[in-house]
């Protein structure tokens, strides 16, 4: 489901959702809780990747670890050359760790990031898992 809100038609909704810039796209879960926010234009592929990251985030925040891992894996495989690629690998590892309590899931993610995305902030964030 999707809603479009134009600033000239519904300026109060911009205040209600703390939107200060356009375009802004919010992804809310079924309870109306904001789970992802994208501010500014993105090309089609990046935008699609971010939307799918938002759906993965909903699963993650609902502690649906297997579903979150599946969605993050899909993003990592479908959009490896977008900014979502390394982030998806990071959260894929976290989702698996949350599901299994197995630290090796984090190490595997860190190694994958080091191999594929040297220089990414997500690789830096995961680097602690290699020690």
């Amino acid at each position: 489901m999707a809603v479009t809100v134009h600033i000239k038609e519904h300026p109060a909704l911009f205040d209600r959702f703390d939107v200060l810039w356009t375009p802004t796209v919010l992804i809310l879960d079924a309870n109306g809780i904001e789970r992802a926010r994208n501010e500014g234009y993105l090309p089609n592929l990046e935008f699609r990747a971010q939307l799918e990251m938002g759906l993965a985030r909903i699963a993650f925040m609902h502690k649906q670890w297997a579903e979150a891992e599946r969605r993050y894996t899909e993003v990592a495989e479908r959009y490896p050359h977008t900014s979502a690629g390394p982030e998806a690998i990071y959260w894929k590892g976290v989702s698996r760790y949350k599901a299994t309590n197995d630290h090796s899931a984090l190490g595997e993610a860190a190694n994958e990031l080091k191999e594929k995305y040297e220089g990414s902030v997500w690789t830096l964030k995961a680097s602690i898992w290699l020690h």
Binding site: P23, A30, L51
Partner: protein, 32 residues
């Protein structure tokens, strides 16, 4: 898959809750 765009945020929030579905809200200032 085609996206069905709504213009009523509160109706969409209610529908999302009723169907246990996520909701995307696009805030725009683009000329119509």
């Amino acid at each position: 898959m085609a996206v069905k765009w709504n213009k009523d945020v509160d109706a969409a929030l209610a529908e999302a809750k009723a169907h246990n579905k996520p909701l995307l809200i696009d805030f725009s200032a683009a000329p119509a």
